[in-house]
């Protein structure tokens, strides 16, 4: 809908995340929150009621010392490409899959807050505003003027920093180009990662990192058998880590991961 009638190159933006490189520093999480005006946690918020469009999990291989190994696992909206669960279930079409970019967009102004999309998402990448967003005095100066904050009672999620995409298109238009200048558009988390673990690109472009990761046998995606075609490719040299994406290989119930 957003770009139904606009001509141009059809992109399918995705990510390639190397979990061997991720140090778990959380800079991506902060950058995301700053870029997208994610409100700080209200009083009484827990890790299950706070909003983190991007979240880093620590996952280990279940072994005891000295065989114990762990990886840090950044997770955001996987931008499901086929049978997008949240898009199909929203009763008032507040979720939109942009055909020009493949990004699954959320319209908080239309969201009723029924949370059906949250139940539908297998990756738990949708977050609900359980409180009215409040920024401490003085902190409102840090708000990003290009991104609208959301209100209480609606759902929000990662949209690959759509404000930046719009800004990149603006710059391309000013330069007289039809398509975005390559490399001009990248989400905040990609920019912020000091280890360069998160890479961004167009899956339709064979030279981009995600497109290469798609073909790499050491890459994997989460819950592939569900058929949602997520566009985030994780890479690890460690075999046990590559099994993270396969739920049937999950270890027996025990100490859960900390997010």
């Amino acid at each position: 809908m957003i770009s139904e009638k606009k001509p141009g190159k059809i992109c399918r933006y995705g990510m390639a995340i190397d979990i061997d490189k991720c140090t778990g520093c959380g800079a991506c999480v902060i950058a995301c929150a700053v870029e997208n005006n994610v409100p700080p946690g209200n009083e009484g918020a827990t890790d299950l009621t706070g909003i983190t469009w991007l979240r880093v999990f620590k996952v280990d291989n279940g072994e005891e010392y000295p065989a114990r190994q762990a990886v840090y696992f950044p997770m955001m909206c996987q931008q499901c490409g086929v049978e997008t669960p949240c898009y199909l279930v929203c009763p008032q079409q507040a979720v939109d899959v942009d055909p020009a970019t493949g990004v699954v967009g959320q319209m908080p102004e239309r969201c009723l807050g029924c949370r059906y999309c949250m139940a539908a998402c297998p990756y738990h990448s949708r977050y609900f505003n359980w409180w009215d967003p409040k920024w401490p005095a003085g902190m409102e100066k840090t708000l990003n003027p290009d991104v609208a904050p959301r209100m209480r009672g609606v759902v929000e999620k990662c949209n690959y920093c759509h404000g930046r995409w719009h800004a990149a298109r603006q710059r391309a238009a000013e330069a007289g180009l039809r398509d975005i200048i390559p490399g001009d558009y990248a989400p905040a988390c990609v920019e912020a990662c000091p280890a360069g673990a998160i890479q961004f690109g167009d899956l339709n472009d064979p030279s981009s990192a995600p497109a290469k990761a798609a073909k790499d046998p050491e890459s994997f995606r989460l819950l592939v058998k569900l058929g949602t075609e997520p566009k985030v490719y994780y890479h690890s040299k460690r075999e046990w880590a590559r099994r993270i994406g396969d739920p049937s290989q999950a270890p027996a119930p025990k100490e859960p991961a900390r997010g």
């Binding site: 209200n42 009484g44 918020a45 827990t46 299950l48 009621t49 996952v59 696992f73 049978e83 669960p85 199909l88 279930v89 929203c90 009763p91 008032q92 079409q93 507040a94 239309r110 969201c111 009723l112 807050g113 029924c114 949370r115 059906y116 949250m118 139940a119 539908a120 998402c121 297998p122 990756y123 738990h124 977050y127 609900f128 505003n129 359980w130 409180w131 009215d132 209100m151 209480r152 009672g153 609606v154 759902v155 989460l222 819950l223 058998k225 569900l226 058929g227 949602t228 099994r243 993270i244 994406g245 396969d246 739920p247 049937s248 290989q249 999950a250 270890p251 119930p253 859960p256 991961a257």
Partner: protein
Amino acid sequence: MDKRFIPAGVSRCSTGRFLLWLAPWAAMLLFGLYCAGLCLVKGLNQTHMNNRFAFGLWIFLDLTVIALGAGAFFTGFLLYILKRKELRAVINSAVAMGLMCYGGAMAVLGVDVGQPLRAWFTFWYPNVHSMLTEVTFCISCYLTVLLIEYVPIVLKNRKLRQVPSFLVFEHELHKLVYVFAGVGTFLSFFHQGSLGGLYGVLRGRPFAFREELGIWPSTFFLFILSAAAVGPSFILLTTWLVEKIARKRLVRPQVLQSLGRISGLLLAAYVLLKTVDTLIWLGRTTPRSGFLPAQYYAWRPFGVWILFAEIALFLVPMVILLLPKLRARAGWLVSAAAMACCGVAVNRFVLTIQTLALPTLSFDRFLQYLPSWQETGTFLAVLASAVLVYSISFRYFELFPEEGDLRRELLRAPVTEPALAGK
């Protein structure tokens, strides 16, 4: 004091006693409204729902209450379309109960969503892929139909019917009641099914996901069948309960046994189809999603016992209700009806709460959730308002048309003991 409003031919307790009965429920309603008010004013952080447990007590109870309220449409269908005349004795009560159930569910949904004032967006931008759109449309229409079916019951009040326009309007509406019964059946078919479809389409939750028959997942049809099976049981249960509380005979025992038999037959169909569906789900659908059936029941407290409990709570009442000798005895009949109602509650619970509790990602954890007092209070408001409206309807409207006849018979021949006074 209010004797002029009480229907002719029946006796009701004194006004004082009635007010005494209403008082605790009114208090509960006020408390519940306060809880709902807290949730509306302060936000949904008043509940214990969170980003992983997006649905909680309210959705579970909504689904259960709508399944139980299916008795309204099904009794209407049986009476006005299939012409089962004996159900005339309970249709008014069924409509009142249905109105309570659906009205309560809609009220709770108004509190459950983050932005209730945007509820009309679903009508303005309907997403036909979404089951929730279907649910919203159908339930809104059906609530309207139930209100229209309830109006004649109100207008037939002894004092109100003396107004000529009320009397005539009621008469004309009643002539067309089969239209509403038909529309109600059509709408109920779809919304009961869509409520099942809500979970059956969740590709991301293999515990709930089911394969499709046509354009709908199998849970669509199973929910319709379970609602139709349990509706008559719920009418049976509530009628018996009202008889006990009011200490009056309200219906002939044959009516309740007829309801029980219908319930039993539908339960049989349901148990058969559910077993087939469960086997397909565990044997084929789940592995295709990349999960293992054992993973569903690996977490305490939801072990395999819950699967068997769900089927047993349908199987046992089915057996009881299909055996005429057991059906004839009040104790067995009512216990079976209660079990069937519990069975449907467990079924809805499993599909809402257990679905969300189970992990999807391999490093996810099993989640626990207990409702907060504000959530519980809100639902108590629904219960209290249902009891209040039903009590008032029972006192002033003719919810049980046969009550007068039964009372006259009892007075004529006092040696006949009421059949439902116990085992």
